[in-house]
């Protein structure tokens, strides 16, 4: 998916941009290399995040974000990790279409996915999220903003999440005009408020952080729950998926294999450590070290994943 980019053409037509390969943004606007929105399906675009921790260099743009065009409206999926990231995404939308952004969908409350919301605050779009997201956001928002300011510096100023205006307890159909998105709220998995978007017409699953590739998964919700939800996601009628972290789109369900292997190794290794009387302080360095070594950023997340898994499994 290299940047087969063309500068903003077709932006004035007010219709889905159809089969043009991808949309580039004016480099001058950004003061740097032009990020490229990849058209992963007709009228569906992904702005791939960088496989790194948030920093001044990447402005917090570390998660995949994107948008879908219908006949009448645009839905944004995850507004990004900072105001700058959100603005970049918004320019990508505006380069692709003049249709209004009517929906901002949040796959979950993690800062790399939601703190770009401020870039869309003036639009009055409905903000759609899992029914449990508001509580999670209330709990972490201020802390996450402070951390972003420390990681990204002054450029983080103005970054903030949008408050959800429409909550999904189970399923919701969003009609963009000729394109109906099937939103599903899942039981506790990556977090306790994961939401996916199935673009049935395109056979494309927007998985949020229920799917990681090329970056070690981060477990916050439930290990057993994530494995169950992943099994359910594999059965959805999709042939491609957009992961929360990784390439813009990947074959589905084949691309779930690495994640499933990691989660199973984490589960089996943690159970074995508990059975052997290894304490929670020592377990992180002793559970599934070979599996962890296969993943970028393992040093930042594997120990925490083991801690979360241990906490869950020791009373199962």
């Amino acid at each position: 998916m290299a940047g087969r980019a063309r500068e903003g053409q077709g932006a004035s037509r007010g219709v889905p941009v159809g089969r043009r390969a991808s949309i580039a943004l004016g480099g001058a606007l950004l003061g740097g290399a032009a990020p490229v929105a990849v058209e992963v399906a007709p009228g569906a675009f992904v702005l791939p995040g960088e496989a790194a921790e948030a920093s001044a260099a990447n402005l917090g743009a570390i998660a995949n974000t994107g948008f879908l065009l219908g006949r009448d409206a645009v839905a944004v999926v995850d507004p990004g990790g900072s105001l700058a990231h959100g603005q970049r995404l918004r320019r990508a939308v505006e380069a692709a279409t003049r249709l209004p952004i009517r929906h901002v969908i949040l796959t979950h409350a993690h800062p790399d996915h939601v703190l770009g919301g401020a870039a869309f605050a003036d639009l009055g779009a409905e903000v759609v999220a899992h029914a449990r997201l508001p509580a999670a956001l209330a709990q972490r928002r201020e802390f996450d903003r402070r951390v972003l300011a420390r990681e990204v510096g002054e450029a983080a100023a103005g970054s903030d999440a949008l408050a959800p205006t429409r909550l999904v307890a189970d399923r919701l159909a969003l009609d963009l005009g000729g394109r109906v998105l099937d939103l599903r709220a899942w039981p506790t998995a990556h977090t306790d408020h994961d939401l996916t978007v199935l673009d049935s017409g395109a056979g494309m699953l927007w998985a949020g952080d229920l799917l990681f590739l090329g970056r070690i998964p981060a477990l916050e919700g439930s290990l057993a729950g994530w494995l169950r939800v992943l099994a359910a996601l594999r059965d959805l009628p999709a042939v491609r998926a957009v992961p929360g972290h990784g390439p813009a789109s990947v074959p589905w369900p084949e691309a779930a294999a690495d994640l499933a292997r990691y989660l199973e190794a984490l589960r089996d290794g943690t159970r074995a450590a508990i059975a052997a009387g290894i304490g929670i302080a020592e377990a992180p360095s002793r559970v599934a070290p070979e599996e962890a070594r296969r993943w970028p950023l393992a040093e930042a997340y594997h120990a925490r994943n083991v801690t979360v898994a241990y906490r869950e499994l020791e009373w199962e």
Binding site: R132, A135, F143, S222, G277, R304, V306, E312
Partner: protein, 274 residues
């Protein structure tokens, strides 16, 4: 009040409010405010008694950056010379709303030699351990821990399931039962949500009342091994490690009570298989 169980939560809570506001979660380690705070806390908990640096006598271990602010494993190791003389260990999480996390009392000499616990950490904090010896000396050690939000973090999993499990206990003897001349590590865990009173129900948005274990007593073959007076800074499912000496084949008994006066007990006969 038993001198080993100083409970002055109101005083400590009052003292903590302005400092918490200052702390804003991520203040660095070396600030005059932190030193002043520990000075005040020490005064409130231990009074005017002199406290000396523990040096090599006491090693306090905690992760520099916690993996989970609601479950931070800590360990206190006493040197071989000092261990038999230590009668109590006091654990303080300076920046927590209720800083006094727990007081551990040795029932048998050496029981506190290798102590472990799991705490909540609400903001970047100094952690203090103070050992009291039989001859009345106080020895302190400190660690800085980066973690935030641990006191108000949601409970892991489902609160209802946790309530139904309440009082179940687990015992781990990674090195087997004790034997003649061989003291062994023991870990005891009590299933209990141990809510801090600072957590919120994600659906009702109402705060969850504090329900927490406030007393634990462990005996072996009828004699006390260790007593613990924990508070809300202890993580859910309170889990403690200590050292047990004795003959094999005795009965280990754990008795616990929470602040609602629910009482829990577990017994295990420590045979050759542990």
């Amino acid at each position: 009040m038993h001198p080993a169980f100083p409970r002055r939560p109101l005083l400590l809570a009052g003292l903590s409010l302005p400092a918490i506001a200052h702390a804003q979660g991520i203040e660095p380690a070396e600030t005059p405010r932190r030193a002043a705070r520990w000075h005040d806390l020490r005064q409130a908990i231990l009074g005017d008694r002199p406290v000396a640096p523990a040096g090599a006598a006491l090693d306090l271990t905690a992760p520099a950056r916690a993996q989970d602010a609601a479950l931070v494993p800590i360990a206190i190791a006493l040197s071989a010379e000092i261990a038999p003389q230590v009668t109590t260990l006091t654990l303080v999480v300076d920046e927590n709303p209720l800083p006094l996390a727990a007081v551990f009392r040795a029932g048998q000499p050496g029981a506190l030699r290798a102590l472990t616990a799991r705490i909540r950490v609400d903001a970047y904090t100094l952690l203090h351990a103070v050992a009291e010896t039989a001859d009345g000396r106080l020895l302190e050690a400190a660690r800085f821990v980066k973690a935030a939000g641990g006191c108000s973090a949601p409970i892991g999993g489902d609160l209802e399931a946790a309530r139904q499990r309440m009082g179940r206990m687990r015992l781990a003897l990674p090195e087997g039962p004790p034997g003649p001349g061989r003291a062994v590590p023991v870990q005891v865990a009590i299933s209990h949500p141990n809510t801090s009173g600072l957590q919120m129900d994600p659906l009702t948005r109402l705060s969850i009342p504090a329900e927490y274990i406030r007393e634990i007593r462990v005996t072996y073959a009828g004699a006390e091994v260790i007593g613990v007076a924990p508070d809300i800074s202890i993580a859910e499912n309170p889990t403690f490690g200590f050292t047990l000496a004795g003959e094999p084949g005795g009965e280990l008994r754990v008795e616990a009570a929470d602040n609602r006066d629910r009482r829990f007990a577990g017994t295990w006969t420590l045979g050759t298989t542990g």
